[in-house]
């Protein structure tokens, strides 16, 4: 009678080793990831206009953070560094995407001209306004752009202070200056059409 093997065990060479202590990510990294990843992605998605690219940038920032595990003593320094690196990468992406965005705008304008839908004009204006805001943000200092983006995402002053690594009492001053700078550059670039 033939023997039927009902439970075949994998060969020894295919048995995976249990993760060692070195393979596991540190607890602080997992904690930071849970607390800040979705917020970072939200901020970056608004900045670059592409959620997939935002997730890629955020994941890259966390990878860098894992590589610099011995660099930070205080958790606040770590969080501020993370937001700074992610925002800088997002601003770089906006600058790099400017050529692609112009191409898309032209294609969009062509589509709108040939479209018979009633909201085509509004759509075209919204796309143009969005690209203008991105362009002005890309010319700001990284910290100013970061502050404006995070504040417009709904973060409170205490959270902003943590993300920027500053004292909470300085947030109002920095925010007022960043808004003034943004408006000044927007007017210089696009006139008074705010």
């Amino acid at each position: 009678m033939d023997t039927v093997n009902t439970g075949v065990q994998p060969a020894d060479e295919f048995v995976l080793d249990p993760p060692t202590r070195r393979d596991r990510s540190p607890a602080w990294l997992e904690s930071d990831f849970r607390e800040h990843y979705s917020r970072l992605v939200g901020m970056l998605a608004r900045l670059v206009g592409d959620r997939a690219q935002a997730e890629e940038i955020a994941a890259d920032a966390f990878c860098k953070l894992a590589g610099y595990r011995g660099l930070f003593v205080q958790p606040a320094e770590r969080v501020a560094w993370l937001y700074r690196v992610a925002t800088n990468a997002g601003l770089d992406a906006v600058r790099a995407n400017s050529r692609r965005r112009r191409r898309e705008q032209q294609a969009g304008a062509e589509t709108m001209r040939t479209s018979y839908e009633s909201g085509a004009l509004e759509e075209m204006l919204a796309v143009e306004r969005r690209s203008r805001v991105q362009a002005v943000l890309a010319t700001l200092k990284s910290r100013d752009a970061q502050l404006l983006l995070l504040r417009s995402s709904g973060m409170a002053y205490r959270e902003l202070a943590e993300a920027l690594g500053i004292h909470p009492s300085s947030v109002g001053t920095m925010l007022a200056r960043a808004e003034a700078e943004f408006e000044k550059k927007f007017r210089a670039r696009y006139g008074d059409d705010l």
Partner: protein, 179 residues
Amino acid sequence: MSRCWLDGELRAWLDRELPPPDMEAIGRHLTECRQCSALSAELSARAARVSALLGALDHVPAVLIAARSRAPRRIVAAALVLAAASLLLFAWIHKPKPIPVTPAILSPASVPPVALPSKPATMPKRRVARPNDMHYYLALDDEPIESGVVLRVTLPDSGQLADVIFDEQGRPRAVRPLN
């Protein structure tokens, strides 16, 4: 009159991000200081303008449908004609051949000797009966067709009738010539 406040403190007051005592103190001061009141109004208006501009980042652009130009239409038409022509050629090559007429029976003496093959003769490959190819559509690309309409068209030049499946965007996706 109480002391004047800095623009950063006024900005935080506008966002209600100050401790309650400071909130009350600034509120009282603004009623009596015209300069701080004007500064506060200016900060508030600017914050509203910047917030409105940054709100544009929340706009999700609609899916842009590429404008159809005449050149791609010509390419599609040429591809359609080419596909139909290749289908017709395929059908012509695989059409059933007529049964050859048996020639007169030759006498054994006139039959030349045939050398036997060294290897044992293999069974001829069995011809798998296939349904008529004309019952099937020829896909014009690799994408699956989820929905579409079938239009019967007459191909230019040859006058051949064909059924063409167009998808919801008006692109021809598959073709089937008719006998």
